[in-house]
């Protein structure tokens, strides 16, 4: 055991110290941050004028939505069914529906659109609504004060009590008029992202294991080492060591990407604040505090809200299962494939000989990625089910399915099979590896590998 740790440490340290590791660690987050920032940036910068149809059943917001540079509002007088039916033909960017409320003031609305709603539009609507509601509340409060002079009231209390948070749900309306909750998109994104991440992780670090084994073989150091440790220890030390390199890189990516994204977004929203502040000084002084500051706050809130929505989605499909299974499939998927990559490395003399053995390993992985889009269309179907149980495809496919909600027993079966697959491939790989690393200058065939498996 001690020796596995020694081996693991060497594998880890030599790789982490490499220049290529540093480069990857810096480039990865830059790329990912760019992918995340650019759409947000573009969304806030767009100059196109959007029209929003408003169907206000509560009547509270009539004429309150003022046209601005980029957003125009027009009011509908109809019911929601026909409004939705007409929406696709109207060419409007979005349809804002504020349902009638009986006792309280309205505090939520639904925003229908064909595509994702522009973030500025959403923020603006939210601000107008909350301002209007707050005003109404304040009016009511003041009326109360006039009638009830005996009780002194703190201004703070009033301010706190009128504070309103507006919920705007976004719904998608398809070309066929079908509605779908827009958070399946979040599921899809999370599923695809984790599936692809596992796929890349397996490929990138699995082949590093393979290259490491080949290196030891061509350097002729392997026999020196296995006279000190068991070949199995050497193999596992390498696999775990490289795996930890992968995890380190992954963690660094997450932390750095998060850091860059927050730094960049706060810097450009900060600039926008200053500009709007100076504008508002000239135009309408009194609203500095309420209106524009609110707008700016809302922009920040909105990103937080997106996060909340995403969390909501995960919550509906069981948060501990999601995180737990991601780690499980991430780690065991890697371990299973890495053992196979190690076996290939052991069997061949140089990297150019690996082709024929790589094929059976890469086919299930590539198949999983190719099938991913079908799985996303039909996460409950038989193809999805079987591919998420078969250990060679399950790490990718199961992770795509899980955000859509998978029964716990299915996840359990899939994990069990993956565990068995891991034990099976490791046992198989250890046998091939052990024989292969001592073979030099021999062109190895599948028949030969079969013989190695039966050696004592």
């Amino acid at each position: 055991m001690n020796k596995i740790i020694l081996i693991l440490k060497r594998e880890y340290l030599t790789r982490v110290r490499k220049r290529s590791f540093m480069v990857m660690t810096i480039l990865g987050p830059l790329l990912m941050a760019a992918i995340m920032i650019v759409p947000i940036y573009l969304a806030t910068r767009t100059n196109e004028t959007k029209t929003v149809a408003v169907l206000d059943e509560s009547g509270v917001f009539y004429e309150k939505f003022k046209d601005s540079d980029n957003i125009r509002f027009h009011y509908l007088v109809s019911d929601i069914t026909s409004a939705k039916a007409n929406f696709t033909k109207s060419g409007d960017h979005a349809l804002l529906y504020i349902p009638k409320t009986e006792v309280t003031l309205p505090s939520n609305a639904i925003l229908y659109s064909e595509n994702n709603v522009n973030i500025n539009v959403k923020t603006y609507i939210k601000n107008v609504m909350s301002k209007q509601i707050e005003e109404l509340k304040l009016e009511a409060k003041l009326k109360d004060l006039q009638t009830d002079v005996q009780h002194p009231v703190q201004v703070d209390d009033i301010l706190r009590s009128i504070k309103t948070n507006i919920d705007i749900n976004t719904m998608k309306i398809g070309e066929d008029g079908k509605e779908s909750k827009s958070y399946t998109e979040v599921s899809m994104a999370i599923g695809m992202f984790s599936g692809i991440l596992i796929y890349f992780f397996i490929f990138l670090f699995g082949s590093q294991v393979m290259r490491g084994v080949i290196e030891e073989k061509t350097n002729r150091i392997v026999e020196v080492i296995i006279s000190s440790v068991k070949p199995f220890q050497l193999m596992m030390g390498k696999i775990i060591g490289v795996g930890l390199v992968g995890l380190t890189q992954f963690l660094l990516w997450v932390v750095l990407t998060f850091g860059i994204v927050t730094a960049v977004t706060s810097s450009f929203t900060g600039k926008a604040d200053k500009k709007s502040d100076t504008d508002s000084m000239v135009v309408d002084k009194p609203s500095i505090n309420s209106g524009h500051l609110n707008l700016q706050k809302a922009v920040q809130q909105d990103t937080g809200e997106n996060m909340n929505e995403a969390l909501d989605v995960i919550n509906t499909i069981n948060f501990p299962v999601m995180i737990g299974s991601f780690l499980f499939f991430f780690i065991f998927g890697y371990l299973m494939y890495a053992a196979l990559f190690a076996a290939i490395g052991g069997a061949v003399d140089s990297e150019s000989d690996t082709q024929q053995f790589m094929l059976p390993i890469t086919i299930p992985l590539i198949l999983a990625i190719v099938m991913a889009q079908f799985v996303i269309q039909d996460p409950e179907g038989p193809v999805s089910f079987w591919m998420s149980v078969f250990p060679l495809t399950s790490p990718v496919i199961m992770m795509i399915r899980i955000p859509f909600g998978v029964p716990v027993w299915e996840v359990g079966i899939s994990m069990l099979f993956l565990l068995l697959g891991f034990l099976g491939t490791t046992w198989l790989a250890a046998k091939i590896y052990r024989t292969g690393i001592l073979m030099y200058g021999k062109k190895v065939s599948y028949k030969e590998l079969w013989k190695w498996l039966r050696y004592k």
């Binding site: 002729r220 026999e223 080492i225 068991k230």
Partner: protein
């Protein structure tokens, strides 16, 4: 007392028998030569001793006890196919290999420092292996083989690839390890080094041990009672002077002397030979012909090969 013994060790590969009932005994403190042509099974046996391979049948003993996994820390092994991590620094690598043999880090560092000084490689610690010459790399390899002070040292073809100066240094080092009490097994084709170094040998051919024992004893059994005679003044064939039981062979001549190898019957002594010849020749020298390990090797191997072929 035997440090290491193998009893009836047999190892099959898929389509051939690599070792067939091989038994060897390596006495403590000796240098044991494992000889044999290419493909005879030497490396397989060495790998079995190092527990890299498991035998199909047979037993292995280390100091009278069954060989156990922890014994690998008492063995130092320099394989025939040997190398180092090219991108790793010399010192770090030596430290790693020493730790794999069970040394703790501080002890390993201390001993390595000593050896780096002894081998005049102090400045190499931080250099990458790929920057070293082949001879330098071999020094590092040798050093990590002996760093944990093993009881048993195993060298597989240690002299292959060494230049004469380094080969000589290696030989000296092997002998000094022996003096320090280590037992050494080495496999080689180089018969000259066997003559110089080995106390005991085992000759393996076609997966079987065909000859084993102390070098001195083996030489004795291979002696043929042949003498090399250097003489002068007699022009004719010596055989005409001698009875038929004395066989003359290997006649040679240089500028000063004639020479002949004469095999005398077992019951006779060299004195009988001289009694017959002295009246006729001027004698310059008489030496007993002792077979070299090279001759013994060739004879033993060809004998076995032909005996294998005749029944067919």
């Amino acid at each position: 007392m035997e440090l290491f013994s193998a009893r009836q060790v047999t190892k099959h590969y898929s389509n051939h028998l690599a070792l067939d009932q091989v038994s060897i005994d390596v006495p403590e403190g000796s240098i044991f030569g494992l000889l044999g042509p290419n493909g005879a099974g030497k490396t397989t046996l060495i790998r079995i001793i190092n527990q890299i391979l498991a035998p199909d049948e047979g037993e292995l003993f280390f100091r009278g006890q069954h060989l156990k996994p922890s014994d690998i820390e008492k063995i130092g092994y320099l394989p025939e196919e040997r190398g180092l991590y090219k991108k790793m620094s010399v010192g770090e690598q030596a430290l790693y290999l020493a730790q794999l043999k069970g040394l703790d880090k501080n002890e390993a560092q201390k001993r390595l420092k000593f050896w780096f000084e002894k081998f005049e490689m102090k400045g190499w610690w931080n250099r990458k292996v790929e920057e070293l010459s082949k001879g330098m790399q071999q020094k590092v390899q040798f050093l990590v083989t002996i760093i944990h002070k093993p009881d048993l040292l195993i060298f597989d073809e240690p002299f292959s690839g060494f230049d004469p100066i380094n080969a000589n240094m290696l030989k000296e080092e092997i002998l000094s390890q022996k003096e320090k009490g280590a037992t050494i097994i080495f496999s080689t084709h180089n018969m000259a080094s066997v003559e110089e170094l080995c106390d005991h040998i085992a000759l393996i051919n076609n997966s079987k041990v065909i000859l084993k024992g102390a070098v001195r004893e083996i030489k004795k059994t291979y002696k043929t009672n042949t003498f090399k005679l250097a003489y002068n003044t007699y022009e004719g064939d010596l055989q005409t002077l001698l009875p038929a039981s004395f066989q003359v062979s290997g006649r040679e001549q240089d500028s000063d002397h004639r020479m002949a190898d004469i095999r005398i019957p077992a019951e006779s002594s060299p004195n009988d030979l001289l009694n017959i010849l002295l009246p006729h020749v001027t004698l310059f020298g008489l030496n007993e012909v002792i077979p070299s390990m090279n001759d013994i090797f060739i004879r033993a191997v060809t004998d076995q090969n032909s005996s294998l072929q005749t029944p067919r």
